[in-house]
Symmetry: C2
Amino acid sequence: MAAPNDGVVEEPRRSVDEHARRIEALLADIALRSETVPLERARGRVTAAPVLSPVDLPLFRNSQMDGFALSSSDLVSVPVTLTIGETIAAAPTSPSPLARGTASRIMTGAVVPEGADCVVPVEHTRVEGDRLTVLVARSAGDYVREPGSDVRTGARILSEGTVLAPRHLAALAASGLTEVSVLSRIRVAVISSGAELVAPGQTPAPGQVFDANTIALASASREAGAEIALIARTSDDHAAFRAALDEAVRTADLVITSGGVSKGDFEVVRDVLEPLGADVAEVAMQPGGPQATTTVEGVPVVSFPGNPVSAQVSFAVFLRPVLRRLSGLPAIVNEVRTLTDEAVSVPNRRQWLRAERLPGGRVRVVSGPSSHLVATMAAADALLDVPENVTRLHVGDAIEVVPL
Amino acid sequence: MAAPNDGVVEEPRRSVDEHARRIEALLADIALRSETVPLERARGRVTAAPVLSPVDLPLFRNSQMDGFALSSSDLVSVPVTLTIGETIAAAPTSPSPLARGTASRIMTGAVVPEGADCVVPVEHTRVEGDRLTVLVARSAGDYVREPGSDVRTGARILSEGTVLAPRHLAALAASGLTEVSVLSRIRVAVISSGAELVAPGQTPAPGQVFDANTIALASASREAGAEIALIARTSDDHAAFRAALDEAVRTADLVITSGGVSKGDFEVVRDVLEPLGADVAEVAMQPGGPQATTTVEGVPVVSFPGNPVSAQVSFAVFLRPVLRRLSGLPAIVNEVRTLTDEAVSVPNRRQWLRAERLPGGRVRVVSGPSSHLVATMAAADALLDVPENVTRLHVGDAIEVVPL
């Protein structure tokens, strides 16, 4: 390893923010769809529209307590003794109207009969045979749940854009709903390119490495709310990459490629995409300099470099914010933390150092800067965002951190 | 609605903390298992053991840059001109040893040939035909990634208890692994009891309500890391409940029931479980007073009241912390926030008011206290934890909040 700048003149690089804007604009054309899913599969999905209650909740006037339903007009003075009539369970039932001077034994949630306007909890009464003595005065409405007191027919239960948690599903089920309209997941195709790649589990030939980018980009896309429409691993063969690309744009809303976008002799992604109008740029960042975007058959194609750390950092910086926003998921909020160690960074490039967040608002660097340190990156849970013009970080520096 | 205490002597209630301890002890007997899952399905799962790398990473000495591999001993003075030999791609290849005075054109990630000990980036050279002029001096090791410099064979890539994120899956794949040993999900059975319950989507008879507890408790269990082994909805019929219970304890590690645990006339859960040794308690909380725990055929059975808000609050207070811990998921950390409004609470009971967290560390109450307000609860994202001895909350009070 060596300092990557020795007075050799470098070509101008695009800023991270500028490339991020281009990717955001590219993805703005993705048509968002909605679909209806059963509540059992809706947790974590995002409502595509407000949900209105089809019913009053409660559905009917019911008791808040186990006790006795009666008319408050019978409680003008207490103690008072009434006759116990029917028992009303929380069950399918249509209780008879209550006669004056009588009380119905009633269970929590059971229908309050016509003629009754309050419930006296069982612990505020004394019972002897069919005689009920009420010890505590009650007013109309006491311990009675009125229909619509939770939500009225046509009122909104959920807003558009709600990330569905158990409490939301409970509210929908309580209203009698069995399904909900949610944003469809954005369909992502992941194409990892490179003759050096071999699938994990296979035996690498000399010069080959296990492909980590496919699982990294596919699982990161899922975590950002997308679904995987296609996964492909291709060599440096142009026809093979082109075939994978053609299938990808037929099935996906967004194609993510890794590898083959730099300036070497075997850059399959660049070779195939440049004739299709790719915007290839050297972005002022490390890891992750070589980047490209293309629109192929109307489908955005975002190309990341092939080093596994570069690909993951590129995803976190460029795609995760946009995918989460389009998917209706909350943004990952950057944090400002205090650095616990010294670190150096390259000039003229925004560096994303792999770091671990510590208690007390602190953060420490857990990896060297090199983009091949994929196992080491597993120990990180954040990226230090080191500005382009900063080459040296000190203990105690306040620094922006991107949670992973 | 009325104040639930009018000078009538109440029986002693068990504290929330005491009941929580009993549930924690009950669940401590659940035998945790592990299973092997493919990386594609491992995101969000929790490693059951440390994972050691089966290989050195990088697998072989390779180039960090597109450039020229050569011997630093040829760079004693620069500029120096060498002969360009073979081209080494990042591909399956076994390059020939490098002869002194020559350089191999090399791509990022390609095998550095024997005889070479550094790489000169292409931008620090000048090429004319097969003649390479190196402009910048380099030392042995520059731009060369050594085998094992990321991780060595047998070194730990992941700790036990890692919640698998994309970066972890990338590290496993980079090491050639295709699967990982994770904690098996705790198998939960959910039994919702009550003659008044009808499945959402059906037409309720008079006196019936839509069952919200099944989806609430099943989805909350999944969110806490469990999987659903069985779902049942039973009437107040003892045989039906007993049959569901028997099937549940055959298939699940934990049974959660809702309803039928209070003191009414039709308390199926209580009636069936008390003869099996249930610990039935009135817990000093609102919502959620009537609670029970039982061990049936060695399987813990946790019984919550049937009001849908009571059931959800009971889950958040009693089961979520234990299930998450057993599942290896991070604890939900309570927050202290500033109340934006007045609120009242009942004496002698710990009340969990449904609330919404606001920016600036504030929190507001979004629902009345009644346990039937299931639609209203959807607007909450936290529970205010109002201590037993507090009956009145004021604007600006600092109060503990349980995030939902």
